[in-house]
Symmetry: C2
Subunit: 383 residues, 2 copies
Amino acid sequence: MEDKQLLMIPGPTPIPARVLQAIAKHPIGHRSKAYSKIQEEVTANLKWLHQTEQDVQALTVSGTGAMEAGVINFLSAGDRVLVGCNGKFGERWAEMAATFALRIECISAEWGKPLDPAAFEAKLEADKEKQIKAVIITHSETSTAVLNDLEGINKAVKAHGEALMIVDAVTSLGAMNIPIDEWGLDVVASGSQKGYMVPPGLGFVAVSAKAWKAYETATLPKYYLDLGLHRKATAKNSTAFTPPINLVFGLQESLRMMREEGLENIFARHDRLKRATRAGVKALGLGLLCEDEVASPAVTAVMPTNVEAEKIRSLMQEKFAISLAGGQDHLKGKIFRIGHLGFVCDRDILTVIAALEAVLQELGQTNFTPGAGVAAANQVFVG
Amino acid sequence: MEDKQLLMIPGPTPIPARVLQAIAKHPIGHRSKAYSKIQEEVTANLKWLHQTEQDVQALTVSGTGAMEAGVINFLSAGDRVLVGCNGKFGERWAEMAATFALRIECISAEWGKPLDPAAFEAKLEADKEKQIKAVIITHSETSTAVLNDLEGINKAVKAHGEALMIVDAVTSLGAMNIPIDEWGLDVVASGSQKGYMVPPGLGFVAVSAKAWKAYETATLPKYYLDLGLHRKATAKNSTAFTPPINLVFGLQESLRMMREEGLENIFARHDRLKRATRAGVKALGLGLLCEDEVASPAVTAVMPTNVEAEKIRSLMQEKFAISLAGGQDHLKGKIFRIGHLGFVCDRDILTVIAALEAVLQELGQTNFTPGAGVAAANQVFVG
């Protein structure tokens, strides 16, 4: 059946009808008063969502573009930076930073394990000459479903005093609590196709006063991604370059929906989805790539032992039109990932767990009691 | 009346219902087979539209991002480049090129006048040591409605042999004939919100074999805009980074519509819209910023003498819900611009000219015979 897809990947996420309808409106001129009014509302709501008093910059980019803007605006060639590498995205930021001639040092952990705050602390404490200009980490590592200890690592960065804390919050912002101003995070990048419940095409960068100070002396060349140009325009409820108007219509609507739900409810919902997914998966006798304590509220990485991950994934698609994500790089074929962020409710998790049971039975698995997956998930929802 | 806007600005342009409906579909995963099939079709149709055998790269950017990609992928700091400056966009590319430490030399013309191919020829001929690495021009200068002589300037570039011809075709591609392979244009950048009849958020870059060769030795840092990464992915019907999936749904549909209409019909339509607009405007006693011979098929810049441009523009909005564009920079308040590219038909021009007549009468203008504007435009449509 066409159009009967249930999208359970870690982005793009399902989109509410209110948002899709907003996106389908005729565009208006982006230099009009009507657009300016939308921009004003969107900026105010982005500040609310980011828990910051600073304007949040919205760019026409994917998440990678937002992260690049978050790095190149505040650093200069030769600057020493620490990059957390424990998955595909951490490694991408190391690769990107190297492209811009930053002197990178990877603080690594095995894929599926979290970054160790103590390792950052040791490097930062040893840096008496304050040569480390930034620490770059991926908060929710989408490739492994690990949630890194942003608060812990940030404490070490604050103790250092000089380095900027640059965060890829692409799959964590809008899914869990990130009090940007309270924690003093310097640069936080995210993308519309995740917690925002908007299709891809918009990237966001929140910037602290300290980072804006670093911007003044940073010399990496930039124009399209020059956040100073964007900042000046945003302050006037305008945009430096043509914005993706229809996606902004969608963003306006989705931010209203998020305000209606409330930050605490949004975070509680994602936490509940995570716990129910993990409970259901475990009850069906499947392994998980990472421990409960470090599991992301946005995505769960399932590592089956007796049956091929890709077989499960393709049967889920074929029989039930449920899209799951595969593993990336060396985890390809070893795991599959269930996305549960953005416009996802408790019912969707029951659906996925119920279908997963059927698929495992079809693949000859008998190491669980029929109905055990849904029963376990329901314990979270009802309990 | 809400939603009764007639968008007659040079981008965003009106969007066909077929395209809006496609955009409003639920997104699918961009690593799925279904997405790959769309990407394959879109790439084939982009090649058709660009009249090139090379893959065209589609990026999540506005037109400025596409132009930046078109510049930084093929040049290195210190490279000498000639930039055509006769409007806001030409000047923007000079500013951008300077940001990336290119040694720029502006070949200027007054705003409203075209660039002189002989001036480029003289510089290129004098460059015996072949130090000029690129010539950057804006084909249709949206700020002044002047169409620069791309073919003539390109001939001088071809005679030079070394320099790349880099073209901002943002408001000309899909509105007029640009035979990229036949002319040997090296880099041609454009954006979705113009001739493509798609909302903003997608940028396109066509790249010649010669430019790809220059890419290999170009050293400006790049990652998100690294066209080599995009090229590799496009060749596999994939994308380097998350694409703006819903806008790609729209692009798929709009390219189908363009194929149905046919390139020659599209170009003839835009030429007709231009001629009718200019005839109607003249018959209403209004001046035009540039001469007929150098007028863009995408936009017309009207320069009223007896009445304030902004008064006309705001009355057009107020009385008839027709959005026109104002002048930019020093032309602010001196001109207004009528966009006629993309999803615009003959009827829209009659509407604008008829409304313009009413507005001029309301503003006390008597220097034309009532009905003269529409009569003149109809001469183009009927004749």
